[in-house]
């Protein structure tokens, strides 16, 4: 059984049959982590938790790019925005994330030039249109966005657009999964692996992890039918005691991924150890711009020193990003921390777990 056609994966009838299959198959308690923030949102938007049997808990993981961005990186972005003759270009989600003292949104209201863009090439166009300004793109995200940012750097180099640069805070998914499994406080029985990331890196990128930990893994798409189907496969692997690495998103994801995108990423970036909110420092889990493109690295153009970054007091984003706590277990949730006045990034981002709970969950 694969889900191929738009009508099928949207069809409530198909979903109902998969729900039936899950209900029949699920005997033991199982904790499944959806790694990707888009999955979290889709699960809430379609009310998927409500249709699953009580044996299944879905736990949200560290898959919201803005949420896992470390506090010192957020502070650095804000400091870049304060440099003279700089236009900061960013995807919208970052604007409202509170840093230690301010946010990009507040800086913009205070007169700093911070622009929301939908693509790195819009940022490149800004650089072309404003030759007397430095345009700094804030590179946040996983393997999904990294190739387009690499492409923008290659284009800037080809076209000699030397007033463009990137502040690179990219992160990689497989090392984070490994860090989660190595953490004794984290209990996960299976992964719903991200769809978009896997389009780029392919199923093979998880092979080493799977071989080492032998934990049920299924790559999933984002429609309700896709997610339910992945849950059904994970439950069946778990119940049978035979874990495997499966691809339930074959209409978009291949074993090898997208070679061109991977090439571009490798040309421009190299893996480095990096800090994650909630997970701490993880070996080779981040991307840095290679020396060949060093002039497009914002960290080389500006001297940024954020000093000691302060994570918001009482904020449980770290425990929430690792699935150890759910948002209602945070003291600030719905009291001091709301989407209008967010304290932590998980409440800000459209893919954040706290925002999803706040927006869609009936429980208080």
């Amino acid at each position: 059984m694969t889900i191929k056609h738009l009508e099928e994966y949207r069809d409530p009838g198909v979903s109902r049959r998969i729900i039936e299959r899950i209900r029949k198959g699920s005997q033991q308690q199982i904790r499944l982590m959806e790694v990707c923030g888009t999955h979290t949102m889709s699960i809430f938007r379609h009310g998927i938790r409500a249709v699953l049997p009580e044996t299944i808990s879905l736990v949200s993981g560290p898959g919201c790019p803005v949420c896992v961005t470390a506090q010192n990186e957020i502070d650095a972005f804000i400091q870049v925005a304060g440099q003279p003759d700089v236009i900061v270009a960013t995807f919208g989600d970052l604007l409202r994330v509170p840093g230690s003292g301010s946010s990009l949104q507040n800086e913009r209201a205070a007169g700093k030039d911070v622009r929301m863009v939908y693509s790195t090439f819009d940022a490149l166009a800004l650089a072309r249109e404003n030759p007397d300004k430095q345009v700094v793109f804030l590179g946040v995200g996983f393997e999904t966005t990294a190739p387009t940012i690499a492409a923008s750097i290659i284009s800037a180099a080809d076209q000699n657009i030397d007033n463009y640069c990137v502040y690179c805070a990219h992160k990689l998914v497989p090392p984070a999964l490994k860090a989660l499994l190595d953490n004794a406080d984290v209990r996960i029985d299976g992964f719903i692996l991200p769809g978009h990331v896997s389009v780029i890196i392919g199923v093979d990128a998880y092979r080493e992890l799977f071989d080492q930990y032998r934990i049920p893994c299924v790559v999933a798409g984002f429609e309700p039918g896709d997610i339910l189907f992945a849950v059904a496969l994970l439950v069946e692997q778990f119940e049978s005691g035979i874990p495997s690495l499966q691809n339930a998103y074959q209409r978009a994801v291949t074993d090898e991924g997208n070679p061109r995108a991977k090439d571009m990423m490798n040309t421009v970036f190299k893996p480095v150890d990096t800090n994650w909110r909630g997970l701490g420092s993880i070996p080779l889990s981040g991307l840095k711009i290679r020396d060949a493109f060093a002039s497009f690295d914002a960290e080389n153009r500006f001297s940024i020193d954020v000093g000691e970054s302060v994570e918001p007091k009482g904020c449980e984003c770290g425990a929430i990003l690792t699935g150890q706590k759910s948002p209602p277990q945070c003291r600030l949730y719905k009291s001091r921390c709301t989407p209008v006045h967010p304290v932590g990034p998980c409440m800000v981002s459209t893919e954040g777990t706290c925002a999803a709970y706040y927006k869609y969950s009936e429980s208080d």
Binding site: P12, A50, S119, V343
Partner: protein
């Protein structure tokens, strides 16, 4: 983190706009007509009820498929008056124009205002024009205000939704917002969608001529259907159930929403209304709305319940449930 400056979110029509109004405006202007926070105010005059409304238009781009800032400004205020259960009578128009704006563009806008006013059968009876130096405004901003007489059998307000009411939406969601978005600088994909900007006063008049039992009317503009439903649930202290599979969205619009991560239920409309109606009259009212040229795709989308008061809950297509909250965050500035 609270801010000491106005940020774009304050104009989103969502929670922060609400906060600005309740914390900054209401304490100063406090009066019974204002405190209801309806689309327009209803004022008792001698023996007659007057509906009065104002709105300001800053849409960017000023020309877009399906309309421009001119007809948007006329239709918007006509609709706000109509949503009070009133027949619009006369409008005022105020313009702030940036130095250097083309006279031809101004003519085009004014002509389209004239056309919209004729279609709605209202007169623009007074106006004002200001020109500001280049850079002090972006091209043109328009304010329109207007008044109308409330239909004798109308008792419309956001606090009048009753348990058992059925909820009608007069057509597809998100057409206006998605049109503006796809024309916005930086978003350069072509699509066949166009704004739904339209006058709804004739539709409303037909409803009151033919049927009773209308409790709430609302045009779901900024913040979309979701925000309007939440405001009504709160003002009326009731719960609202809606059904995902009944919510009408054009296929192209749904596609763009998905691509960009927008939920059509939060995206602005400029020619649609929500009606909360007594179940006894519901079928008649739906038929009346469907007989109007702007209401052909009208349908029932949900009902009012005494469960989960002040909350909107959606039954999803796969049989799950979830909350539909008000809009938070800057989904799209300068949409109208």
């Amino acid at each position: 983190m609270k801010t000491d400056k106005v940020i774009l979110d304050h104009g989103s029509g969502g929670k922060l706009s609400h906060e600005l109004i309740t914390e900054v405006m209401l304490p100063v202007f406090q009066n019974p007509a204002l405190s209801i926070l309806h689309d327009g105010a209803i004022i008792d005059t001698e023996g007659k009820q007057l509906a009065f409304s104002t709105d300001t238009y800053v849409v960017d781009p000023i020309f877009f498929p399906g309309g421009d800032i001119g007809d948007l400004a006329i239709n918007g205020t006509v609709n706000d008056i109509a949503m009070c259960g009133a027949r619009p009578v006369a409008l005022s128009v105020g313009m702030i124009i940036e130095e250097g704006f083309f006279i031809d563009d101004l003519k085009r806008i004014v002509n389209s205002m004239g056309k919209a006013a004729r279609a709605a059968q209202v007169n623009v009876v007074t106006g004002d024009t200001k020109v500001v130096p280049r850079g002090a405004a972006d091209k043109i901003f328009i304010n329109s205000s207007g008044f109308g007489w409330v239909f004798p059998n109308a008792r419309i307000n956001s606090n009048q939704a009753k348990v058992g009411d059925r909820i009608i939406l007069s057509g597809t969601m998100a057409d206006h917002g998605i049109t503006i978005l796809s024309r916005r600088q930086g978003m350069s994909f072509d699509s066949a969608v166009q704004s739904d900007t339209a006058p709804l006063n004739h539709m409303v008049e037909q409803i009151f001529n033919r049927c009773g039992g209308v409790h709430v009317l609302r045009d779901p503009t900024r913040g979309g259907v979701a925000t309007a439903l939440n405001e009504i649930a709160q003002m009326s202290d009731v719960g609202i159930d809606i059904w995902q599979s009944s919510l009408p969205v054009r296929k192209e619009v749904a596609g763009i929403c998905e691509l960009l991560g927008f939920d059509p239920i939060y995206v602005a409309n400029e020619g649609k209304l929500l009606a909360f109606v007594d179940p006894e009259n519901a079928d008649d009212i739906l038929e009346t709305i469907k007989s109007d040229p702007y209401g052909k795709a009208a349908c029932f989308i949900g009902e009012v319940t005494d469960a989960h008061r002040r909350k909107v809950v959606m039954e999803t297509a796969i049989g799950g449930r979830r909350i539909v909250d008000m809009l938070t965050g800057e989904q799209l500035p300068r949409i109208c």
